[in-house]
Structures are given as C-alpha cells and as structure tokens.
C-alpha cells in the first residue's frame, strides 16, 4: 500500500495498479466474509447470539421483485414514486430540474480482455 505522502507523487499508472491490487483484495475478502457468514449461519441454532463481542443475528429479508402490480394492489401496497430513469434522461439533456443535485466521481473498470 502506498503511504499518503507517496500518493501525490505516484504516476497515474501506479495509482491504477494500486487500485487493481486493492480491488482484487476487496473482492477476495468479501467472498471470504460470505463463506464465513454462511458457515456461522449453518451453525446457528438460535435467533441471535453474542460471540467475542459481536452479535450474530439471523434476519430474514423478503424479495418482492416477482410480485405483480395486481397482487400488490390487493394488499394496498402500491405507492406513487418518482421515476428517476426519466428524470436522469432529462437532466442529462441539460434541463435544470428543481431540487435535483449532482456529484461527480470516478468509475474505474478493467477493460483488458482476459
């Protein structure tokens, strides 16, 4: 890892290389965390427990993407919502939308063919 004082003097190539190394390490660690989480979940006999100062809590998250509008309507589960896809298109065409703001950030993607 580059020290903070070296970041300012590193070349773009060095910085991208650092990002690649860190990004791969992050992916590996996330995959490792998932494996550990799955192993712990398989051993949980209770809803929650505290181990080494960490709470392990079994939670259930519901996914509704295959629920149709008609089914949702029968449960009173329809709401009016802003369509950000439409607004995005309009904003990109240069229209000022009241209440909208923007941030600029860098997306880094590997485009080398493997």
């Amino acid at each position: 890892m580059l020290q903070p004082e070296d970041l300012a003097t590193a070349t773009k190539e060095q910085l991208v290389k650092e990002f690649e190394v860190a990004d791969n390490a992050k992916d590996e660690m996330e995959a490792y965390c998932k494996v550990i989480r799955d192993e712990l979940a398989s051993r949980m006999q209770v809803n929650a427990e505290v181990v080494n100062g960490f709470s392990l809590i079994k939670t259930t998250k519901y996914v509704f993407k295959n629920v149709t509008m008609d089914v949702a309507r029968t449960f009173g589960a329809i709401k009016e919502a802003i369509d950000t896809v439409v607004l995005n298109k309009i904003a990109k065409s240069g229209v000022q939308i009241p209440g909208a703001s923007s941030t600029t950030y860098l997306m880094i993607r590997n485009v080398t063919q493997k």
Partner: protein, 208 residues
Amino acid sequence: MIILSFSTINMLYTASHNWINKQMGLKPEDRPYFKRGRAAHRIIQDHVSGVRLDDRLAHINYKFPIVETVDFDPKCKIFVPVDKNYAVRGYVDGHDPVNRRFLEIKTGVWSIGKYQNSFQRKIYSLGLPSYTESIMVTGEWDPNAWKMAPPKVYIVPSTPKDRQEAMDWIIGGINIIEKGDFSGGLDAGGVCTNPYCYYGVNCHFKHL
C-alpha cells in the same frame, strides 16, 4: 443489612424519590400489564423444564431442569454480598448448573443488544459466578400470538467484564442512597408529575 434488588437499584438511578416510597411501605399501583406476562412465563418455564411441552416452543432446544415454580423461589435465588451493610438479591427464571447457564424470559420487544446491555443480566451473572452464559427467550406476552411469531432465543455469554460492570453499577446505586438526595424524578417543587411513575397514584410525592 439492606437488601437491594435490580429493580430497586434501577429506580435509584431513574427516579430516586421511589426509594422514599419504598421505605414508607407504599405499594406500586396495580397495573394490568405488570401481570400479563405471567402466563407466557409459566408456559415457557414448563416447556424448558420438561413439565409440559408446548408445540409452539418446539424450536427451543435448551433445557433448564430448575425453574421458578413459586414467586421468589429459593431454588432460583441469587445473592450478592456487597459489603457489611448491603447485598443484592434476585431470582432467575431458571438455570442449569451442569451446563452453567441461566434462563431469562422477557415478554415484549427485546433485542439482543438490549439484553446484552441489561444490568439485570449482569447482576445475575455476578450472582452465578461459575455460569458461562444466559439464554434469553423473548416473545409476545400473549401465547396465542406464538403460532405466527414464535418466541426468539438469544445466547449471551456471561463474562468477567459483565460481573465487574454489575458491581460498579450496584455501588453507584448504593452511593445514591448514601448521599441522601432522593429528588430524582421530582419537579422543581418536589412533586412527582410523571404519569408513568412506578408507584402511580400511590406515590407519596403526588399528594403533597
């Protein structure tokens, strides 16, 4: 010797004027919700002790051979001497000396974080120094609701840190007594205006 309970010490911290109510021999106002968890407690205690198994609790795999069968059951008593003047006494809902764990039942909404931070749990851990963990069973006070929402089971270890924090908390409560200032929970005029006061209509400080 002055014997304190968790709820008495808690009152010293949250509304110390209730210490005076207690010394005057006043009784807390009788509120229906104080009693409504009793049926749930009994059903859970009977299930985990094997006296009467309940299908709604089939997911609870922990057994407790010793459970409270009467109020203030000596089999479930914990006693912590603090010094020559004070001690703390309490009663766990159940315990298992072989596996060194005790049982706590709570009706209502309890998260594992709330239970872990509970001084009642820490005091029980202090009173059972060889025990390594506690099992909390928490669910709706109405057992009829358990079919749709089974009571949850949490495991929390009992640690030396818990025991030290319990003792520090107890000593802090004793310091409130020794300081002799029991104005906690009263307004500037010394009157209790809290509608949720533990002593309710019987609170001496509501009738000044």
